[in-house]
Structures are given as C-alpha cells and as structure tokens.
Symmetry: C2
Subunit: 303 residues, 2 copies
C-alpha cells in the first residue's frame, strides 16, 4: 500500500471541508470548519492552515481544491463564486504559495464528474454526462474522452430553460431547470400547494400517496427528462449519471427520469441512466484525483 496521501479540499460558502485521502481514495482524516470571511470574501489563510494541519502527520504529495462558481481549472483561477465573494481570484497560485505543495483547483461538480467518470458509475466510458442535483444543479460532460470545462463556463445545466411558462430563477431567467428540480424547489412548490413544510426527501416518500407530493415530484422528473433530452441531443453520452442530494432517493428518481428521457428520444443515442456511485463523496474523490494528478501520480483507485 502506498504510504503517500493527498489533501482534498471543498470550499463552500458555509463550511470548508478538508480530508487526508489515500491512493485508494479512502479518507484517512477529515476536518470541517465554518468558512471564515474577511470583507465578505472567504479568507484563504484558514484554508491553508487546514491543509498544513492535515499534511503535518502524513507524506502529502499534492492538494486538490474544489469550489462552486465559474472556475477556470486550467488557469487555476476562480472567475466568479458568488457564495464565496470571489471575483477573478488566482486561487491556485495563492494557495500553492501558502502551502508549498503541488496544487490543482477545480469546479466542485466537474470534480464530481471526474470521479464518477474515473472510478465511479461511468468509469472508462468515453462519452458520459454527470449532473449533481442539490441546492443547485450543474453538470460535467465527458465527450470523446475529454472532460469539458469551457474555460470554466461550461456545464451550467441548472440554468437551461425547461418551462417557458415557469417561475423566475435566481439567475433572472424564466423556467430554468433549477426552478423545478433543484432540492429547494420541491419543498417550496409543495408549500405553495399545501401550506405544509416538507423536505424533498419526505416529498419523495409521499409520491403516489399524496397528490401534491406526486405533482411536485413528477414535475421535477419531467423537468429533468426535458433537460436531459437537450443534453443527450447536444453531447451524445453513452451513460447519464444522476448525483447530488436528490439522487439519494435512488430508484424513485432514477427510474422515472430514465423512462421520461427514453420516451423523448428518437434518433439520438439512448444512454443508460444510472445513480452516482460515489454519492455525496464524488466532489471529494474528484479533488483527491486532481491532487494525485498535481503530484504526477496515478492513484491506486484509478488503476
């Protein structure tokens, strides 16, 4: 067993999660601390301190850092991360200088896709599409073996329009996928229909028994089917991987979405629709893969 390890970091607006990760992509030690801010922006010194702390008692060879927003992985620059208060931040250069280790920066959902495409539900597939359905919705597409970044601007799957007569999204557009299928959309729509507070998970459990839950869930399924029809038409994936919090519903989500998508397709390639294999750990696994890559090493899990 390789004694070397990497540090995988997930910087969010609420918390920073960091883990010491083995070559088998097993978390050996984890830290989770509230995101500290300076002048509205998440500060880097406390993040660097977490990395240094984890690196103190292991032979750490690289660091992978993932963040939400518009992230130019190749340049290591965060173009815009609203939740973190960052604009045009040269994150890789600043953090690498602070910790003195090979370091890669990437988008959290694209990192999740990298993990699913490398060691997860679409391992070894040349054309695959991964979407993380959580508080927001984003996607990572692998086409002809290349994971698409588009300079950081690709994959904003949650903001394609699926309902031209729908609600206004936070981005200002009417009827984005997020207005119907992001995790917060289900409780909001259920509350509007019934006045009752229920979590997305509770709503999933009431499908078939409760008409309002059934309607809200089926709208989310149809929205995902509509959006995936577009993604499949443009990217041509062999496998579609559903991840993020909403995918914890398992077959209750995957089966109807697969059926809805299948019904919409005609001449396009018909992909398999599967649940993410790495669950909520996809982003961390992707950050770890990036860290091993930063060190120039193929980790055991990816062999």
């Amino acid at each position: 067993m390789d004694q070397r390890a990497v540090v995988a970091v997930d910087i969010g607006g609420t918390a920073v999660k960091a883990a010491l990760v083995s070559a088998e992509l097993v978390a050996l030690r984890e830290l989770r601390r509230p995101s500290e801010r300076a002048g509205g922006a998440v500060a880097l010194a406390p993040v660097a301190a977490m990395i240094t702390e984890l690196a103190a008692d292991a032979e750490v060879v690289g660091v992978g850092v993932v963040v939400p927003g518009i992230v130019d992985d190749a340049a290591g620059v965060v173009r815009a991360a609203v939740n973190l208060g960052w604009v045009d931040l040269p994150l890789r250069a600043e953090l690498a200088a602070a910790v003195g280790l090979p370091l890669r920066v990437g988008h959290d959902v694209r990192a999740g896709g990298l993990a699913e495409f490398t060691v997860g539900a679409a391992a070894g597939v040349a054309n695959a599409f991964f979407t993380a359905i959580g508080t927001g919705i984003a996607a990572a597409a692998k086409v002809d073996g290349h994971l698409l970044a588009g300079g950081g601007y690709a994959g904003e799957f949650g903001h394609i329009v699926v309902d031209q007569a729908g609600d206004v999204c936070g981005c200002g557009t009417v009827g984005c996928l997020e207005t119907l299928a992001a995790a917060p959309a289900l409780p909001r729509r259920y509350r509007a229909l019934t006045g009752v507070e229920r979590t997305a998970q509770e709503i999933a459990g009431l499908v078939g028994a409760d008409p309002a839950a059934t309607l809200v869930w089926e709208d989310a399924v149809r929205a995902l089917g509509t959006a995936l029809h577009t993604a499949v038409t443009l990217f041509g994936p062999e496998v579609v991987v559903l991840g993020g919090g909403l995918s914890e519903a398992g077959a209750a989500l995957v089966d109807p979405v697969a059926a809805d998508l299948d019904r919409r397709l005609s001449f396009q390639r018909r992909p398999r629709v599967v649940r993410a294999a790495l669950g909520q750990q996809a982003g961390r696994a992707g950050a770890a893969l990036m860290a091993w890559e930063a060190a120039g090493i193929t980790p055991a899990a990816a062999l």
Copy 2:
C-alpha cells in the same frame, strides 16, 4: 507554392460534390454529379471514380469526405445517414481501399465547424460554437480546444426543444428548433399564414414591411436565441458562428439573433455572435483540412 493538393468530397442525398483543393484551400477543379443509388443506398463506386478522376492530373496526398447523419469521425464509420440510405457503413475503410489514398471521413457540419474554427470566423479561439442553419440545423462545438464528436452523436442542435407548444418535428418531437428556424420552416409557416409561396430569402427581405414575414422571421430569431441560450449555458463559447443558407441574410439574421441571445444571458459568458466567414464553402474547406490532416500535412491556409 505547394504543388500538392487534396480531394474534398461532400456526399449528399441529391448530389456528390468533389473538388481538388490546394494547400491554400482554393478549389482548383470541381465535379458535381447526381448521387447514384443501388438498392436505395448511395453507391460508393461512382464516388471513388470522382476522386480518382480528380487525382489523375495532380499530386493528390489525401482525401476528406463529409456526409450528413450520425458519423463517427474517429472510427470512420457512418452510424446512420437517412438521406443516403446508410447504416453502420465503414465508409473510410471502403473508400480508402477503393482509391488507395490516405482518407478521412467526417460529419458535414462538424467539418464546417472545423473550417470556421481553423481558418474562418473563430480561428484560434479555444471555445466556439458553429451552427449551420439550412435545410436542417446542426452544430459543431469546440470546447477547451477540442472539436466535439461524441462518437458521432454530438451537436444535434436542430433537435433541441425551443417551443413546448410548437409543431411536431420530423424527428417526432414537439417544438424542435428546426420547426421554427430551419430554412424550409419559414416558407411553410408563411404559407400557412398567407397562402402565398415565398422563399426564406424573400421573407427575410420583407421583414418590417409585411406583417406575416415579420412574424415568421422574428419567431425564427427567437427560436435561435432560445436555443443558443442553452448552447452557451452548456458549452460556454467565446464566439458563436452562424452559418448555412439562412446566414446568407447577413446582418438581418446575425444582429437580431445576437440581441435576442444577449438579452437572455445573465451570469454566462457573453459570446460574440458572428456570421460564418466561409459561407457555403465551410463544409468543403473542412473536408480539405481533414484531407491534409490525413496526409500528415498542415496546409498553408492553416499556418
């Protein structure tokens, strides 16, 4: 000047066009013949004869062949080409054996994109999106420097849904982009409103003067703006190139589409929207570029 040349071939359901093309991508000699069929499928022997004829009086080093349909460029196999009557045809192997020259096979619109991305309106841009708006609508996307093929299934831009209450498309789906913005959609919709036959070009010329022409044209513009909003959200291009027959309308198409798209975007990258530089010759130029690549030579035009 390089005395060597290549043969660029465009196989369509009605005609086969072949040209002897210089390293400067100038057509030195052109042939155009009706597509000959055997048992419903376009026959290859007459195509091979055209290539051999053009190669007889020049130092031909390679051949590039483009076709419509689902084309796996990397494998050189046409998965499905309805207009040509082909299913799973190993076109590259069969034609290369017949002509005895290095030969590449590709999708006609992706070849057009290759040309626009290499020597045309988006030369040197790492992230660009090209759409050919003609009898059908398809697209080629370049992301992070890679031209996407998706095993032949990527880029079916004409079949993403832009109007959920719209007409049924030939593919069986309601409200595809092609139902509103492909070249035949404009005369068909104008006729339905007025009973009068007009070409797409005539309709473009009547915008502002004739209410029916204005409505049909503005619907096409909005449909393209809607579809490009989706493409920009998923691919993040810096430049959007409008090509194909409808782009012959020039600023009458490009300006309102650019304005419509710009109005829809929020956090996304705002691409420049430009008219194709190579016009109707983009596919041939792309086939020629593929032919030079088959020969292992960078043509002068691409230097």
